[in-house]
């Protein structure tokens, strides 16, 4: 059984894959990820009569995106992986969009914030050819993928990834904060 958690933007997505069944829950939330995320996860298990102790792996989106949003998903994910002593993988929000939209073409994923763009590019065979970066302008000339997640494809993409140490699981902020620039 695999749990997927994404809290990097206004659409919270949590999903549970048990054998061939996939249960997904989403919730629009601007500043209330703390109110919704854990109850959504709880209801995934309860409504489908599944036991959290049977969980084998967690996949969590670790950014870039809302700093507070990703910390909520990551706090839950790394604590669960630690407590249950199970595998955990992080995936970038941009990679998650790119892999969800694998149209056989070179393509870019872009996440905008108030000052610029987080950008990454993937090729026809799903290799990342432009690793994620932050820029005030988006000058990549590739097809732009939708910000839509395909959890099945993400789980498949992470299938052979080595588990990370839950203690070391961290956010992928990409962007520096102001005090770091001043240093």
């Amino acid at each position: 059984m695999i749990l997927f958690i994404d809290t990097h933007d206004e659409l919270i997505t949590v999903a549970l894959k048990n054998n061939d069944e996939l249960f997904i829950k989403t919730k629009e939330s601007e500043y209330s990820h703390s109110i919704y995320t854990m109850p959504l996860i709880e209801s995934l298990f309860k409504e489908n009569n599944l036991d959290v102790k049977d969980l084998k792996k967690i996949i969590v989106v670790n950014g870039p995106g809302s700093f507070t949003g990703i910390r909520i998903g990551l706090s839950i994910a790394k604590t669960m992986a630690y407590a249950l002593n199970i595998d955990i993988n992080t995936i970038s929000s941009l990679t998650a969009y790119l892999i969800s939209n694998d149209n056989g073409k070179k393509r870019k994923a872009v996440i905008e914030d108030n000052k610029g763009y987080y950008i990454s590019v993937m090729d026809e065979s799903n290799n990342i050819i432009v690793p994620e970066y932050y820029s005030e302008e988006d000058n990549e000339n590739y097809d732009l993928v939708d910000k839509k997640l395909d959890v099945e494809k993400i789980i498949e993409y992470c299938k052979n990834m080595k588990s990370e140490n839950s203690h070391h699981v961290n956010a992928n902020y990409v962007k520096k904060i102001e005090v770091e620039h001043d240093k």
Partner: protein
């Protein structure tokens, strides 16, 4: 009755702390991971930096606490955390991690008020008699509270402007003392004499406090001396300031104890680690026959043991929280 073990998490500011507390008063294990070295670089707590460090450290601190206690998560009867007041991004890390534990082990989740934690720091290894009056002195609070029972909080007075800890930090800045300012002002005061004239602070009938006037007074004093080309004696100014704010605390507290005829007094909060303030309040209590409790210094500054002690009171009253609880930056004890 069966022993109750609570695992408590505190992450409201710049310490990631986890404790295991037995029956609300026995500290089985407490780990405090302080970020003070990092924030010293910036001259104060940077909220985004604090949040990032909490996320990096949270499971390691939980693990270290369990190892120290030689216990497992399965042994816990409840999971508690600070949910307010504090820095939102920081609080959220502890809140979400604790929810995850409560969910996995199907045990009560207890959302605890940080200020309640400061008060109940006095319960660790100690028994309290009610009614009592509690004075909370910290970087964000200066409150006099009447407690008729262990879960009733009646505000008698609060600061009208700066909290006392804030005043200490600002005076530290005026005197060019490094972060953390408060403890450094205390250190300097120890070597000085109260030679500078300080204003009389709000000597009225209320139980409210005010610390912004004295801060401005210190600022003007330093400024004027500089303009005259005179050196400020930092030790003497720190001492004069400390004497003045301490007698303000002592006067108001004494008035409240006498008016309500209360025989038990609790001191708590980060500034309760200040020895000069502890001693002055203790002398006043001895003089009027009041029993005074104050936490050991390590339980005055932010720690999860006090959150576990407060959570035990909520546990006894079955005040459990839902997994939808959100962190909050500002609340009172009665919210």
């Amino acid at each position: 009755m069966k022993d109750v073990y609570i695992l408590a998490v505190e992450s409201s500011c710049d310490e990631t702390s986890v404790s295991i507390i037995k029956n609300g008063y026995e500290d089985i294990a407490t780990i405090i991971n302080s970020q003070i070295d990092v924030h010293t670089k910036y001259g104060g707590v940077v909220p985004e930096v604090a949040s990032r460090l909490h996320l990096e450290n949270i499971t390691m601190v939980i693990n270290e606490c369990l190892e120290k206690a030689n216990m497992k998560l399965e042994d816990m009867d409840a999971f508690a955390c600070t949910y307010a007041p504090g820095l939102l991004g920081s609080l959220l890390v502890g809140v979400e991690a604790t929810k995850a534990l409560a969910f996995i082990y199907n045990k009560p989740f207890i959302a605890t008020n940080h200020m309640m934690g400061h008060i109940y720091a006095n319960m660790i290894g100690n028994k309290l008699e009610y009614p009592l009056i509690s004075l909370i002195v910290s970087g964000g609070h200066t409150d006099l509270i009447l407690m008729k029972s262990e879960d009733s909080f009646e505000y008698l007075g609060s600061t009208l402007d700066d909290a006392i800890g804030e005043a200490y930090d600002k005076v530290a800045r005026i005197l060019d003392l490094p972060y953390p300012g408060g403890p450094n002002v205390e250190k300097y005061a120890l070597e000085g004499n109260p030679t500078y004239k300080m204003p009389q602070i709000m000597n009225d009938e209320s139980f409210n406090f005010s610390f912004s006037g004295i801060k401005s007074h210190c600022n003007n004093l330093v400024h004027n001396e500089h303009q005259r080309g005179n050196e400020i004696n930092k030790n003497d100014l720190a001492c004069s300031f400390q004497n003045c704010v301490t007698s303000h605390l002592v006067d108001k507290t004494k008035k409240a104890l006498l008016k309500y005829n209360i025989k038990t007094f609790l001191l708590s909060g980060g500034v309760a680690a200040n020895s000069f303030i502890r001693n002055a309040l203790k002398n006043m209590c001895d003089e009027i026959g009041v029993e005074m409790h104050m936490p050991e210094k390590r339980y005055c500054t932010d720690n999860a043991a006090m959150i576990g002690a407060a959570a035990y009171v909520l546990y006894k009253h079955k005040k459990f929280a839902d997994l939808s609880v959100n962190a909050q930056s500002h609340i009172t004890l009665n919210d």
